[in-house]
């Protein structure tokens, strides 16, 4: 009988990652959730259980803002799913075309905005769309479509969509790159075999490539979901913490920021802010779970 050896090396190799991840992610996460269960009453921090959540969902002043932000968040996400990902897939399909020239140039050009800071993107687009100095009105004027121009970022009905499209412009490189990588892994033999069976051109994409890249599309969708529900930077950089006009671009991130840190005369309330952060965490968790258990496990995979 041999005594099972303690495999110390596993522990040693895991330790750095586990320790760092615990210190900078897990501990703050649970501490934030804990913070949501307290309130400050007369300079004292008091345990109040779920009262903050009750206020958030029960008090119309808070719940109205919360549902508005959540609705805006879904719209933001929807635009990304409907615009960013299809365009990303289409670009990847074009780029992987063997006879395309300057593919590397296009690839870098489309990917570059992704590495730009939100502040730069927000500021640059604000200038481009500015009704006073922007080039958007004069460009539209040059093709005789000046009447189509509106101060989009300042109108309640367009502002959020405009910002979502700006974000799409910035991040379309990510789905493009992931799908492009997935397309490159498809072996030539399969496509050639299809060709012999008479499947070429567009139908080769729909019938062979698309099913094979479906898992990547799933990953992209969930990355988009998490990214969008954590979004904050672009809205803050372009519209400020009040997410104007009239809260039409307010998403959960800006709502949380305003509550947590305060704004102008409104003093910060870390406890309510933590409650909103907790709600955001729950929403993202539910979304990710639906994907992991409802979609990913049922997705058909092909052995290449």
């Amino acid at each position: 009988m041999q005594k099972p050896r303690t495999r110390w090396h596993i522990l040693v190799f895991l330790a750095p990652a586990v320790l760092i991840y615990t210190a900078v992610m897990i501990f703050p996460l649970f501490n934030t959730l804990r913070l949501a269960l307290y309130s400050k009453i007369d300079q004292e921090r008091v345990y109040t259980g779920l009262q903050n959540f009750q206020t958030l969902f029960g008090d119309p002043i808070w719940s109205e803002q919360f549902w508005n932000a959540l609705g805006n968040n879904f719209w933001f996400f929807l635009i990304h799913m409907l615009v960013q990902n299809p365009i990303g897939i289409a670009l990847a399909a074009l780029l992987s075309h063997p006879r395309l020239r300057f593919a590397a140039l296009y690839r870098s050009a489309i990917f570059i905005p992704t590495i730009l800071s939100f502040v730069i993107v927000g500021f640059a687009w604000k200038l481009i769309l500015s009704p006073i100095w922007g080039i958007a009105p004069s460009m539209l004027d040059a093709v005789g479509l000046k009447s189509l121009f509106a101060p989009w970022l300042g109108k309640e009905e367009y502002a959020l969509t405009t910002l979502a499209l700006i974000s799409v412009w910035q991040f379309v490189g990510i789905p493009m790159m992931l799908i492009y990588a997935a397309l490159l892994t498809i072996p030539e033999e399969i496509l050639e075999a299809g060709e012999i069976d008479g499947i070429t051109g567009m139908s080769a994409f729909w019938k062979i490539k698309l099913p094979l890249i479906l898992p990547s599309i799933g990953i992209i969708s969930i990355l988009t979901f998490v990214g969008n529900f954590n979004a904050f930077d672009l809205i803050y950089a372009a519209q400020g913490a009040l997410a104007g006009p009239d809260f039409s671009t307010d998403i959960l991130g800006t709502f949380m920021y305003r509550t947590f840190f305060g704004f102008q005369l409104q003093l910060g309330d870390p406890h309510m802010g933590a409650a909103i952060a907790g709600a955001m965490f729950a929403i993202i968790l539910v979304g990710v779970c639906i994907y992991l258990f409802g979609i990913q496990t049922r997705m058909r995979r092909y052995q290449l």
Binding site: Q43, I61, W62, K126, L129, S130, P131, I132, W133, P137, A150, P151, W152, L153, G154, K155, E156, Q239, G240, L242, G244, P245, D246, F247, F261, G262, F263, Q264, L265, Q266, L267
Partner: protein, 422 residues
């Protein structure tokens, strides 16, 4: 705490015992550190204010250590908690500083003799609600009004408007002429609509302090004529703002005016020094127009900066000496002239050299002063009245909501948490 003490002892040229005694005798060498968000003013403090003080008070050295405006409140709070904050603390107006006082971070200065140099309105930004304790020495205020392009007015043969009717007649004339945008203001950043719009013209309607205090006492409501009428006037501004004003930001408006493309700029006096360097035409200023000629005028003379004493300071006597000096006419004259547009609040008038600043400050003699209606007490709860006023002012200018509805909405928001309005 200990470390701070040690570094102080090192910084002072005297022995450590000298610092200990410094608390008792202000003639000994001590160093005072000032916390501030005004990093723009660093050279002003280093070159003018501090040397002037140190020349008069040998033995007290002063260090000005500002942090970035947006981070100031957070930085200050953590420094105070850690016990490493400076001896003197620059005070934001109203609740931010009141919270510090209530937490025992700021000392009560009500017994400081020099506080007598200030009027009650000036002190109101740094007092407890009942006015029994004052915790910061008022340093400066900003005045609202309108800055105009004198050359444009001369070109179009416009007279400076005194009444509302004249004001809109002038705007109409500028619009008809077409070479200038009548008024440079946008609604993208929202605060301008409330600060330079509603709280600029409003005091003439609610009669300054009278209306503001009545609102705090619960005797007037935001649905009253005096509080709704400014929204009705703002609703008339829309057509005179530039094309696409909905997406026009605050810097856009500033640039439009200083480039000479707009004739009138609804302003706060803090713009003066910036405009002086940017604009190459002559500027003038007029106060918010009154409804009928001869009416008493009211101006928003809003308290903006004060300075108080860290309750945990090791040098309370030296700090008080400095605060008394800040309350003196000498400081007022240095500060007021170095920063045109930030007006000292002391009762003794200060001779200013900048013509535009002089024009603004001259209204103090003709009109009644008040502060922004939403700043004291009324923005303490949720929903926050100040933030709501931003949205309401924008909605009024865009014509998105009727003024009466805006009043109703604001009133119900305020009444939801403010007992005197319930």
């Amino acid at each position: 705490m200990k470390q701070k003490f040690m570094s102080k002892a090192l910084a002072a040229t005297a022995l450590a015992s000298g610092v200990l005694l410094g608390a008792a005798a202000s003639a000994e060498n001590v160093t005072l550190t000032i916390e501030s968000w005004r990093n723009d003013d660093l050279t002003l403090w280093q070159d003018k204010i501090i040397p002037a003080f140190e020349a008069k008070h040998p033995g007290i050295k002063v260090k000005f250590t500002p942090s970035a405006p947006a981070e100031y409140n957070a930085v200050l709070n953590s420094k105070l908690e850690a016990g490493s904050a400076g001896d003197l603390i620059t005070c934001r107006p109203f609740d931010a500083s009141l919270a510090l006082y209530e937490a025992g971070r700021l000392s009560n200065l009500a017994d400081l003799a020099a506080m007598g140099n200030f009027s009650d309105v000036a002190k109101s930004a740094w007092q407890t609600d009942d006015g029994s304790a004052s915790f910061c020495v008022p340093m400066a205020s900003v005045i609202h009004g309108f800055i105009y392009n004198k050359e444009a007015f001369a070109e179009l043969e416009l007279a400076v408007p005194e009444t509302e009717e004249e004001f809109f007649a002038a705007l109409e004339k500028i619009r008809e002429d077409g070479s200038y945008i009548p008024m440079a203001m946008g609604t993208n950043d929202q605060w301008e609509a409330a600060t330079m719009g509603y709280n600029n013209i409003g005091p003439n309607y609610w009669k300054g302090e009278e209306g503001r205090l009545a609102l705090i006492a619960g005797e007037q409501k935001l649905t009253d004529e005096a509080w709704v009428a400014p929204y009705e006037t703002l609703a008339k501004w829309g057509p005179y703002l530039g094309d696409g004003f909905e997406a026009q930001t605050y810097p856009d408006s500033q640039n439009l005016f200083t480039l000479g493309r707009a004739a009138i700029y609804p302003a706060g006096s803090w713009e003066i020094s910036g405009f002086n360097t940017q604009a190459d035409f002559e500027m003038g200023a007029f106060k918010p127009p009154v409804q009928a000629a001869g009416d008493t005028c009211y101006i928003s003379d809003h308290t903006d900066i004060g300075i108080g004493m860290n309750a945990a300071t090791a040098n309370p006597e030296a700090a008080k000496t400095f605060l008394s000096w800040v309350a003196s006419p000498e400081f007022a004259s240095i500060f007021g002239n170095a920063l045109p547009g930030f007006f000292p609040l002391s009762k003794t008038p200060v001779e200013l050299s900048d013509p535009l600043a002089k024009e603004f400050v001259s209204w103090r003699g003709e009109c009644e002063s008040t502060i922004r209606s939403t700043y004291q007490i009324l923005s303490r709860g949720t929903p926050n009245l100040e933030n709501e006023t931003w949205g309401a002012s924008v909605a009024a200018i865009k014509g998105a909501s009727a003024p009466a509805d805006l009043g109703k909405e604001l009133q119900s928001g305020l009444a939801s948490w403010y007992a005197p309005q319930q």
